[in-house]
Each structure stands twice: as structure tokens, then as C-alpha cells.
Symmetry: D2
Subunit: 321 residues, 4 copies
């Protein structure tokens, strides 16, 4: 445990009543190096926030110049004005929406915060685009394999993914009611057209990706089963070696020696867990499984990891790993 004699950094959370904002506050509540100075909600202003003693405030009533870092936990499409306001006031920004991610058209303005792959630039960034939940698992799993030349070009990488319902946000919708989701399982984003694809394709421009998400009847967690076309001679052991090499010292990444990760390994944590297996009777396809909590490593966990880098703290400070 590192002892520090500096004052904790002041933090603001914009959009503190959605699932992402609530989880950011939960993680920050465990973090001894920061204090939350404001948490906003337009609709519930005046009511208690998830931070003891701190009522929710309206956006217009808080001052971003009071804080070092602002987390934007708004609905997708609503982050740009707040990002500009915070930056003008001298605060730094971690944007958890898709508004500054690769493929958004605004990616030039931000550093892409895939924290275990982009460490140094994040340290000095003023605006970090926090990665999407699905792309986090996919990108961490694939990047070392693409870099290492293990994947055979030309054949598509099939990503069959399943997510818990908090991934769809907290705005009421009929199709997210308990009685609709309970006992069901369905594919959505059919036709390889999910909005997260732009973000993934930006990371792997040479690799055709076929991404098919499904909705799981669980509150949280993502499992991605990836069917990976590999060069002749590449097996699961080689895949795991590439990960071990790339992620040495990465405290939130776990590589399973045997078996495959499950949601229950990661729900409520800020971990991503990776596994790889060979397939009997099928050549040159390794099956990769990545598991993470869409609200943990897929959102709040990586956002706080980015914050730690920006503040010069250990990357895993305060995280659940």
C-alpha cells in the first residue's frame, strides 16, 4: 500500500444516476487518492447521490474548474458540449460515451484510452475517450495476436458476444423490462452493423471482423467467444504466450492456463480474463474467450485506470482486481 502525503485529487462525475455513472462513483468510493467534488443529474438534482453526504447537482450549478478530472457518463451523443466546457475550464476529461472514440469523427481530439495498450499518451492527455465495453475485450484479446502475426489475413474473425442488460443503459424501454428479458436470449445488432464495430475496425483495419452480439438475462457481464483464423502451426499455447508477453505487469488482465473464463469470474470486478483452446477436427481455428464486467473493465474500471495514469498513480489503484 502506497502512502501518499498529497491531498486527494478532486473529481467531478457528470451523469451520476445511470449505470455507468453509479459504477464510477462506486469505484471512486474505494479509492483513497481522490475525492468526488460534484456529481450531476438534471432530473434528480437535490436528491442524494451515491456518495455519502454529496447531493446531486444540476450541470449548470457545478464548476469544472474546481476539479482535476471530469468523468462524462452521459448518454451517447451528449458529451461534446460538456467536454468543451470542462477543457475550457482547465479540467481534464475522461469521456465514457462513444462521442470521441475511433469512428466517431471526433477521435482526433482525444487519446483512445485502452489503458493496457496505450499507457504513455494517456498520462499527458487532456481528453481521453474511454473504450466501449465490447471493444475492450475484443481489442485486448486480438491486439497482441495481430501484432505477433498469428492471425491469418483474409478470413473473417467471428466474434460471438453476449452482454448483460446494463450494457443497454438505464433509460426505461419495454424490451428491457424484467418480464421481457427474464428467460429470454436473443441476437441483436444483426447484419454486422453494431455501432461498436466502427471502434473495433479502427483498431484492426486489416482484419475483417464479424461481430454478433446477444442479450443475456443477467444484469452485468460480457462474454466474447472469438473464432480466430490462425496461420498453420499456431495453437492456443502460442496465443497465450503472445498475451503473457504483451500483458506482463497488467494488473487487471488475467490469462487462464486451462479452461475458459466465465461471467462469474469477473462480474463485480475490474478484470478482463482471457482463455484460448484448440479445436479437435478443425484446422487453423483457435477459440478465444474473453470475459469482463461491462460496467467494470468495460466502463468504470478502465475509466478509473485512465484517471490513475493521468494523475501519475499506480494504474490499478482502487480497482477490484
Amino acid at each position: 500500500m502506497k502512502l501518499h502525503n498529497t491531498a486527494p485529487a478532486a473529481i467531478g462525475v457528470v451523469g451520476a444516476t445511470g449505470y455507468t455513472g453509479l459504477e464510477v462513483l462506486r469505484v471512486l468510493g474505494r479509492h483513497e487518492g481522490v475525492r468526488v467534488a460534484f456529481a450531476t443529474s438534471e432530473r434528480e438534482a437535490g436528491e442524494a447521490s451515491a456518495v455519502p453526504g454529496l447531493p446531486l447537482a444540476r450541470s449548470e450549478d457545478v464548476d469544472p474548474s474546481d476539479v482535476e478530472i471530469v468523468f462524462l457518463c452521459l448518454p451517447h451523443g451528449e458529451a461534446v458540449p460538456w467536454a468543451e466546457r470542462a477543457l475550457s475550464a482547465g479540467a481534464r476529461v475522461v469521456d465514457l460515451t462513444s462521442d470521441h472514440r475511433p469512428g466517431s469523427g471526433r477521435e482526433e481530439a482525444a487519446v483512445y484510452g485502452m489503458a493496457d495498450l496505450v499507457g504513455t499518451e494517456i498520462r499527458d492527455a487532456h481528453l481521453v475517450a474511454n473504450p466501449g465495453c465490447y471493444p475492450t475485450g475484443v481489442t485486448l484479446a486480438l491486439q497482441p495476436l495481430v501484432t505477433g502475426g498469428l492471425i491469418e489475413e483474409g478470413r473473417p474473425v467471428v466474434i460471438d458476444a453476449a452482454s448483460g442488460v446494463t450494457g443497454a443503459g438505464r433509460t426505461p424501454r419495454r424490451d428491457l423490462l424484467f418480464a421481457e428479458v427474464s428467460g429470454d436470449y436473443r441476437a441483436y445488432g444483426l447484419g454486422n452493423d453494431h455501432r461498436h464495430l466502427k471502434e473495433m475496425r479502427a483498431s484492426f483495419p486489416q482484419t475483417p471482423l464479424l461481430f454478433q452480439p446477444h442479450l443475456l438475462p443477467v444484469p452485468r457481464g460480457i462474454l466474447e467467444t472469438i473464432y480466430l483464423p490462425v496461420h498453420s502451426g499456431v495453437d492456443a499455447a502460442a496465443v497465450k504466450d503472445a498475451w503473457l508477453h504483451a500483458f506482463k505487469g497488467a494488473g487487471t488482465i488475467r490469462i487462464r492456463e486451462g479452461g475458459a473464463p466465465a461471467l462469474s469470474d469477473v462480474v463485480g470486478t475490474d478484470l478482463v480474463t482471457l482463455g484460448a483452446v484448440d479445436n479437435v477436427g478443425v484446422e487453423n481455428v483457435v477459440t478465444v474467450v474473453a470475459a469482463l464486467d461491462n460496467l467494470g473493465k468495460g466502463a468504470a474500471g478502465q475509466a478509473v485506470q485512465n484517471m490513475n495514469l493521468m494523475l501519475g498513480l499506480e494504474p490499478e489503484r482502487g480497482l477490484r482486481c
Copy 2:
């Protein structure tokens, strides 16, 4: 509604307290052309069965010569002696275990009861091997496409499947306890080595299959998302045309015009629902989704469909479709 003036056929159910046996009794309870003459359970003999007024009996206390058809709903590996006993007594048999399915080593003794593909032989069969739950969806989806020459040979067909927990049976196991399954989702049968593969490979000896099942936190239902390598020029419309042609008049098969089937479409029914979509940015892969209830079309529904064929009744008599 067909009126019949013949007496209802007598039926025996062996293994009447597992999920499959219970579902067979549920379907037969809706069927006006049959009556259940006995239902066995070694452990619960003497207690009430799911048939009003019919207590559970020990195997040794029932007489297969009393019935026209015996359903074997035993654990896998335990059906052979009972099948022999029933056949010797002159009864016909629908075996819901894997013991006489393709790949079992005993498939020569039985007709494979994929009812919508093998109608005529079933009519005269003495012993029908009722297909497995996963193979039912896969085989119905693929057979018309293989026959029609739509699938490109050589590249693997990736079958990413998910099943509710009744697929694993009713024998107590720690990993099937509510507190273990709730909120979880995991891959199992890793490495392309699931026991259902033998059955599927027997139907498609020329096509490499990569089959990866997952365990869903729902009681029942199977969704199979199949990534299908197709010849250049073959699209989702061609896939649906092949199905429509093959399954004209098949009352338990539904082909969706748009979108993809979901578990909620089929749970509690004896239907299988099929959908197909093209994929933006990836060539020559059509995504196929098949949904069925593992206890319905995946077990009891198809077993009763086979019984109907054996008794010369309409195939969908008594089914939930």
C-alpha cells in the same frame, strides 16, 4: 380437428421424473389420440406421476406388451436393456437417450428420428432414435443448404450455441445449483469435443463443424447462431428459399422473414424457428439463427411427432405449434 373413432393408443413412459420424461407426459396429456398406461420411476415408485390418477411404477412392475409405444427417457447409457425388453414384448420404442443415435455405435439398429427429414422410414420403424436437442436445430438448419449446394466446402461451419440448464438433466450437481448458474454465462464442452458432435457429424460427413456450446441462466431453450461459409452469390434470401422449399407443410418449423428468432419465441412450444441475415463488410458468410425449446422440439415434441408418424396420425397432433 380430425374426429377418430378408434380407441386411443396405449403408451408407456420409462423414466417419468426427469425433465424429458415430465415433458413427454405434459405433451401426451394434451393429445387426444393416446393414453398413458404406465410411467416408471425407480426412486419415486408409488408416488403420483404427472398423469392424474396414475401412480409411478417400478420398471419391473410394468408390462411393455400392454402398450403400443414405449418412450425411453432414461439417463444416457441406460436405454439399451429397456429397448430390448420392449421390442421383445412387441412394443415399439422411441428412445430419447443418445444410446441409438448416429455415432453411438448402435445407430444401425434404429431409425434416426429427425421427423421433418425422414418421414417415411419412421412410419414403419420399431426403434426410433430421437435426435439430440442441439443436433435438431443444427441439422434442420443445415440439411437443405448442404443438399442445395449452398455451403462452401472446406471452411468450417461455426456453431455458437447456448442452452438453458434443463439440457443438463435433473440429477443434482453443484454446478447446476441456482446460486451457481444465476447471473453466470459460460462456455463448456471446450475444444470441439461435445458428445453431440458425433451425431451432427454423421449427418454432415463432408462439412467441418466447429461446435461451441454455452450454458445460459434460463430453465429452457436453445439458441444456435451459425456462421455459415457460403458460395459467392449465396445470400440470406437464398438460404430462406432453400428452407421454404424443404419444409413446405412442416407444421413445427417456422422461417422468419426478417430479424432473428429469440428464445421467447419458442420456449414452451414444439417449434423450431429459423432466421438468416447477410453481413455488412464480410463476404460469403451468412449468419443463421435457430431457436427451439430443448425439452420441446429438442426432445418431447419431436418424440411425440415421431410417435404420431408411427401411429399413422397427423405429425403435429397434440403438439404446441
Copy 3:
């Protein structure tokens, strides 16, 4: 099976996309004595209804004089104008909202459709107020005991009830989202002030009722555990005798000899199941448990039972019992 040579009765369903309307259509779909002539939805007009081949229509585009009976499956508070319109057109009405129930202020205009207790009047009624889901279990359990003089006056009857989420309707609300309900259990309607109390108090004006509902993380089903103050000498056997006497021939009411009913006994059925047990170490309190499906006997099942009575059919025709 009764053969009938009259034409099936024409039925209209107003509000056919909520949980209650969908369930009414599901039950009517099994009923050979009726045909659904229209099903309305303002928002989804033109789309497919749950009846094969019948598109949803706007209210203004259907004619109640085409049908014998109209089911009103609207939100509470919206049924009165439609009831007047249907009655003026010569149709009879089963109102599944609370708008004509006891305590509504409009109860004089309707017959209260507690079908197993009020048979004759329902036969000739033009407007039937279909009972609420919670009151159905409570009233059926208590009425024979109050009539029989088993309950001690003056001490409150404590009704601890739990319902699945479809009881709260299908309109999107944050507190009914899957991620909010899953894993939770909570009391609501605190302080003995639930809107169903007026309806129950009208049936039992002399008996103080303490009614405390809870929200269960299940789609459907109601369990009511009732702590019943009884006269000295009254035990569970006497309670069951009173029920057996009152409900002789009532095909949707089951009285358990031993044990207590569970949700799994009744979900998906139109049954209500009753049980009673004595309590060691506590005098003059019998515990009664009633289980029913809030959408079955608690709504659509009893509505169709009322329709059967109105049409002169057997009361249980088409029901799941």
C-alpha cells in the same frame, strides 16, 4: 369433449398488447367456442396481433356491434368510455381494469366477477368487473371461512403477498427494468394503503385486513401467505373442510391436502391453489397459502371463465386447469 354445432361467438379485445390483453388472446386461442373478431392497439395498429392473421386495429376503426363480448384490457382509469361505447352498441363487457370494481365508485353499474362465488348473476350481466389479481386469491381463500364463522372478529387478518412483475404492467418504468428487479425483493404499497384494499374491504367489511405486497423477481405468479386469527378449536382441517364444501365442482380451484402451494404449481395455468397449516406454539392462528398466476386466474383466466358463464358454456371451457 363437447361437440357444439352453434357458430363460435365473436369476441373483441381492447388493449391487446399489454400483458393482460396478450394473455386473454392466448387463452381465447385455445377456446373452440369463440373467435376473436378484433384486437386493438393505438400505438401498434397495423402490426400483427397475437392472433394469426388478425392485424391490430385502432379503437376507432372497430365496431363493437360486431361482437358479443368485449374484453377491456386497458390501463386502470381508461375503461369507462369504452365500456359505455360497447354497451350502447349492444355488446356485453368484461372489464379487466379496476374501473368498475368494488371501491371504484362505479361498482353499482357492474356485476363483480368473482366467478366461483357469484355464478348466477354473471350469466345475465351486461357489464362484469373482473376482479384484481391479489383480491382473487384473498377473497376465494377467506369467503368460505367468513361465511362459516371460523375467523375471530376484531383481530386483523395479515396478508403477506408477493407478485411477479407483470402485475405492474408493460409500460416502461425504470424500477421494472431487468437490471433493477433481478436479484432484488422488496415491499411496496407500504402502510396498508394499496389500491387493491378497497376491493378486498368491500368483500369483508367486518374483518380488518392488513395487506402488505412485495415485488418478486419472477415474470408471473402471486403467492399470498395469510395469517388467520381463528376461533378457539378451529384448525387447518376445519379450514380445508370449509373450502371443500364451498368449492365442490369448481374446476379452477385446487385444495392441497398437505403442504403449501408454490408458484411453480400455478404459473401458466388458470388455477388457484389453496393450502392451510397449523402452527406449533402459537394458538388460534392458522396459516393459509394461496397461489395463482396473476395473468391466469388473476386476470385472463377468470375473465374467460366469466365469458363462459355469460355465453352459457361450461365455466372451465378453454382454461388451463
Copy 4:
């Protein structure tokens, strides 16, 4: 955060693979004042425990004299020999089974560890009987009210309780399988004869208790809705005052000003939350609701609280509150 310069206390956990043992290890893993020296499992000896780097050991291979405190997380009925062995070796014991609780016949040998009510004796105890999950909520809720003379003698206190399935342990049983519990809700321990009653009656010998538990389809959490007969003039405000007075400074007890606690407030924490409401139209009954996590405050949380008292640490050290 208190800095301490003493070495962390060595702890042993006996029965480290059941739900209770796993949760004790989870809480101890967050506790900086202790280290786990051994964790036992007969069946999984040699495999990894939940403590990084510590394999599971067989009971016979560990030495209780190595540790200051042993937690017994065994099945009920199996704790006595281990308790004797540990005490003989000079270790102190927190027994999480029912074997030394009030009503067990062995309560004289132990201090009853209702930590917020019995502080001083626990400090010096050699053997602490950790309270049951249901009795913890009931006893904390009722004790200040009995002491304060708010409850009317003679009329029964009705305790309608509901628990998640981990309360029933991790040994495989058919009735605890996912497919049996999902979608169900049922009463059990019918007839006021649950084994926890002896424990509760020992705390309240003058008060007749009617305790009716139910099984919830959730992994964890207990909600107890208590219908409390009170003296004329006693209302919910008086109940809350009595609690506030009794539990001043108790860090794991929360008293809600308005509304009632829900499972979602407490699952995953070591809190118990209490609420009280008056009832319209019913005199002299206050409804009390207590919520706690059966594995948290109902088991591991209170066990670690007892350990803290025994070691002279702050009571809430390491707890999730």
C-alpha cells in the same frame, strides 16, 4: 485509516468451499489486520482456495495452534469435534454452524455472538456461536423493542421471511437446481417448526413468535417483514427511536427514515437495514422490515465482526458497510 504496527493475526478457516466459508475468505481478503494461515476442504484438498497462493488442505494436515482464531464453516452438526480440537490447541473459535447456538443444547459452552448486542463478553470469549441468518435480522429488530416495552405481550409476532438460496448451502439437491428455483417462490418450514425458531425463542422467551420462511429465486439476501403487535400509542416513530437509541455507533446497522429496506440495499454488504411503518385502518400493529445479506451480516460479516471484537480491533474493520 488506522495504521497498525503489530503483525497481522493468523486465522484458519475450516470448510472453505461452502458458501459461508467462501464468504468468510472474501471478507478476510479485504482485512488488513489478519492473514489466512490455512483453509480446509476434505474433498478439494490440494486445489486452489479463494486465497491467492494458499492451497486447500485436509483437516488432519493443519495445526490449529498456528492460528489465533479458527472459523468453523462446516455443515450443521459437524462443528463440535473441530471446536474441541481448536480450543485444546489454544486457538479461539468462531463457530458459524448452529451447533453452539441457543437451543442447541450446547449454548452454555459458548458466547452468543450477536455482536451489536453482546459486545463485552465476546471480547474475552474462547468460543463464539455466530448467530443464524434469519435470527440476526429478527433479534436486532426486536430486542430494543422488547427491552423498551413497546410490544404487547400475548399476541404473536408474525415474521414473514424470505431468503435467497445460498441460505440452504452448497450441497447438491434437486430442489435447489436452477431449473427448479427459477421463476418459483414457495413457503417452507411450514407449521412454525423451522430449526431457527429455537434460537429466536431463546432470545425472546416471553414473546410468541410465528415464523414463516419462503425461498426466493435469488442467490443471496434475506427480507423479513414483521407484523408487530404494539401497545396502544406506540407507532413507527417510537420503534425507530428505540432502534436509534440502542444502535448508536453500530456501524453495520442502518435505520431508514422513510420507506422500507430492499434486498438490493444490502446484498454484497455486511449491513442490516431496518424500517418501520404504520398501517392505515389497523390499530396497534406496526410493520417492521429488516433486510440483510444471509452470507454477509447473516454469516461472514458478523463472524468477522466477532473476530474483530476478540482481537481488540474496531468492530467494523474490513467489513462492507
